[in-house]
């Protein structure tokens, strides 16, 4: 079965880079331009991994993660934060919100692939 990923970033360049990287890995990729849009894309359906930015208009990444994690279907869904922020406070906030892990930009496709394989069996 094709594995599904949801990529959330307000930068179209980042979204495309991440999506293409995952598509090369055989993922079917959905994209969201911010948290609210991503929730709409998701619409309660299952995905194998979610990769999200934090700083986004309309709905930021933390709020988005809280929303997703509170849905029973996403209780165990891996959610990776891909961001330039790496401060310890933010990381703890992310953890509290329910994020699985943290990837600090600059974005390196091969690193993303490695991390994604660690959370998607």
């Amino acid at each position: 079965m094709t594995r599904k990923a949801l990529v959330v970033d307000d930068s179209a360049t980042m979204r495309q880079m991440i999506s293409l990287t995952l598509e090369e890995q055989g993922f079917e990729v959905m994209q969201g331009v911010d948290g609210a849009d991503a929730l709409e894309q998701l619409n309660g359906s299952e995905v194998d991994v979610i990769i999200t930015d934090l700083n986004m208009p309309v709905m930021d990444g933390m709020t988005f993660i809280r929303h997703v994690r509170s849905q029973p279907v996403h209780r165990f869904t891996p959610i990776l934060i891909l961001t330039t922020e790496g401060g310890i406070d933010r990381k703890l906030e992310g953890k509290e919100a329910g994020a699985t892990g943290w990837i600090v930009k600059p974005f390196d496709p091969s690193r993303l692939v490695r991390v994604v394989h660690r959370v998607v069996a």
Partner: protein, 669 residues
């Protein structure tokens, strides 16, 4: 194989422009309202996204600059930093610098010399605001990971890792790939009794001995992304001095690595298609539409059965959809031109000593890319003109009982297949008396001729026409307004002015949605079909003999419901033999450069869509003809350039030898 990120450079540069525009807009917003936290957030987001992308793509100068900029913005976000004029200038300079850096990076050039001083200024501003040390870098327990060779490994995870979406098993498996695992055992000491056991929690920890030939980095990297959930300690069994390395160096190395990517490597991800190819496609689709129309016509003549007629009709609908779709490839939002105006207005206001509030509406309205590119120049000029000549100084405004701050509105909207852009100011309005004096002096208006205010207003677009008492740097010396008009007309657009003394001026620019297809009005002159832009046609009337007249100064005139205008005999202009009876023809009222003309034509064919084709110089014999178009029945219709028609008309009047005397005698008098 992971992808090569350099292919995204082109897309990044496109996107980066939007970020810089958003940044600049936010700075201007902050200047207006220094308490507006949202604009600081907006700036931060723009800088942040630029930094993220540029560092990934190895656009290092931009990455380095946005890093410093982001620091300052972060400070502004976190603390209440006073928004001084100096800070605004600094941010605007940063916005300009970003634009410049991106441009240079795109062309593979070195950063400008101004970058270093600006970076220092930005950094200094942060220091002034804050004497506290910079934030603590992450990963402080890395010291425990130093060393190599045989090591004692311990992995302790937080029990809630499962509901954080993490399954530890793949990580442990990967451990076996990067290290020689001598032993690894699960520590079950924290597993509670069955009745206290929560199935969604993980109570296990792991410990063992690993041999790390390639150093601890490989192990550390596996757990790095979850370092706050899984705590990994590696203790050297045969202790060695830790090597100097840090997470920052890792990041550094990554930047170095991506910087090594070929700068000029193809920019493939954005689908970039040469405009000519899109135009060719649009052209072909247009011809397909025409071919379908011709097929429908033929089928109608054959009284073909209903099923065929119906499928031809269906095909027509799909084709029109296809045409819309093809055309939309060329459209972009007007905001791509509008974004420059807040800054322009701000800088000009400072230069002119005026207070101005700019309102921009309808930036999402889409237009053909070609039209948009051609708009920047004329719109800029119109805005400059409104600032310079339209708006008064704060003192003059107050003296006139108006608020000291003038307002300029730039509003776009779509209206019946065209786009209307209105530029309004609440300034002093046009001085019609001065314009009339000037026009008389320039010989544009006869000494005893009376002129309506519409035509007077339109005169500000005449070449060399400027009523400003003093000539300023800002809007030049009367070149410009006419250049603005001809630029708009080159885009098949029209320009109108409304003005009320003391209340302000509105310049209204109407543009076709696309340049490739003309919404036209087909008319017959001789036996030939001609098409004029529908935008220019005001009305069509059947004239009576008594409507025609001749006035010494202005030549032949025609009256359309009491409105007297110049008569243009299209047969003369287009080189057809004159008609026997003027009253047999029709008058098409058009507006050209602000003046109404009555075109005398033989007949009408009505509204039509034509695909414009450029004509060979050998076929394009008259300045009145803009291009050609193939019609449903395969014949050619000529598209008229109305400004050209008027020019030919005026030239014929000056050399009456070219006109036939009989046809020149007005019928009604």
């Amino acid at each position: 194989m992971p992808i090569d990120v350099s292919q995204f450079r082109g897309m990044f540069f496109e996107e980066a422009r939007d970020y810089v525009a958003a940044f600049e807009q936010a700075v201007l917003q902050l200047e207006k309202d220094p308490s507006d936290k949202a604009s600081v957030q907006e700036m931060f987001r723009a800088a942040h996204s630029l930094k993220g992308c540029s560092s990934t793509l190895g656009v290092n100068d931009v990455a380095a600059f946005t890093h410093v900029l982001e620091n300052l913005l972060d400070h502004m976000r976190e603390r209440s930093v006073a928004v001084s004029a100096e800070l605004i200038e600094l941010l605007l300079a940063s916005s300009d610098m970003l634009g410049d850096l991106l441009q240079r990076a795109r062309e593979g050039q070195e950063p400008p010399p101004g970058m270093e001083p600006l970076v220092h200024k930005l950094a200094a501003h942060v220091r002034v605001q804050d004497d506290a040390p910079a934030e603590v870098s992450h990963g402080e327990d890395q010291g425990t990971l130093r060393g190599d060779g045989r090591m004692a490994l311990e992995i302790r995870c937080e029990p809630n890792l499962l509901t954080e979406g993490l399954d530890p098993l793949p990580l442990l498996r990967e451990l076996y790939e990067v290290a020689e695992v001598e032993s690894l055992e699960a520590d079950v000491s924290r597993v509670p009794d069955l009745d206290a056991l929560e199935p969604e929690r993980c109570y296990l920890a792991w410990s063992g001995v690993v041999d790390l030939e390639d150093g601890p980095e490989a192990v550390r990297e596996i757990f790095e992304f979850v370092e706050d959930t899984c705590h990994v300690t590696l203790a050297p069994i045969e202790a060695k001095a830790p090597a100097a390395s840090s997470a920052d160096e890792t990041a550094e190395a990554l930047i170095q690595k991506s910087a090594g990517l070929d700068r000029t490597a193809g920019e493939k991800a954005t689908l970039r298609v040469a405009t000519e190819r899109i135009d060719e496609m649009i052209n072909l689709v247009g011809e397909l539409v025409i071919a379908q129309a011709s097929l429908a016509q033929t089928a109608g003549g054959l009284e073909a059965d209903e099923a065929i007629a119906e499928s031809i009709e269906r095909m027509g609908r799909r084709l029109r959809e296809l045409q819309q779709c093809a055309l939309s490839v060329r459209t972009i939002p007007l905001s791509t031109v509008f974004f420059r105006f807040p800054r322009l207005v701000r800088d000009l206001a400072a230069e002119l000593g005026k207070q101005v509030q700019l309102e921009v509406v309808g930036g999402e309205t889409e237009l053909d890319k070609g039209v948009i590119e051609g708009l920047a120049g004329p719109l800029t000029h119109l805005v400059r003109n409104a600032m310079d000549h339209g708006l008064e100084t704060p003192e003059a405004r107050e003296a006139a009982g108006k608020p000291a701050t003038g307002s300029i509105q730039l509003a776009a909207r779509q209206e019946h297949g065209s786009v209307v852009i209105e530029l309004s100011d609440d300034g002093r309005g046009l001085d019609t008396q001065r314009i009339l004096e000037k026009a008389r002096a320039a010989g544009l208006v006869g000494p005893n001729e009376t002129v309506g205010s519409d035509r007077l207003h339109a005169m500000i677009f005449e070449p060399g026409f400027s009523t400003a008492a003093s000539v300023s740097d800002v809007s030049g010396r009367g070149v410009g307004m006419d250049a603005a008009r001809s630029a708009i007309e080159d885009l098949s657009g029209t320009l109108h002015v409304r003005s009320e003394p003391g209340r302000g001026t509105t310049v209204c620019v109407t543009l076709p949605l696309t340049l490739a297809i003309l919404d036209g009005f087909a008319l017959m002159v001789g036996r030939q079909t001609y098409v004029v832009p529908l935008l220019s046609v005001l009305e069509v009337v059947k004239p009576a003999r008594e409507d025609f007249s001749t006035v010494l100064d202005r030549g032949e005139l025609v009256s359309v419901r009491g409105d007297v205008m110049r008569l243009v005999r299209m047969r003369d202009v287009l080189g057809h033999p004159p008609a026997l009876d003027d009253a047999e023809g029709l008058i098409v009222v058009v507006e050209v450069q602000g003046e109404r003309f009555g075109l005398l034509v033989d007949d009408l064919e009505g509204q039509t869509n034509v695909v414009i084709k450029g004509l060979d110089e050998s076929v394009k014999t008259s300045p009145a003809i803009l291009g050609g178009s193939i019609q449903g029945d395969g014949s050619i219709a000529f598209i008229l350039d109305l400004a050209g028609v008027v020019r030919v008309h005026l030239a014929l009047r000056r050399t009456p030898a070219l006109a036939t005397p009989e046809s020149e005698s007005p019928s009604g008098i």
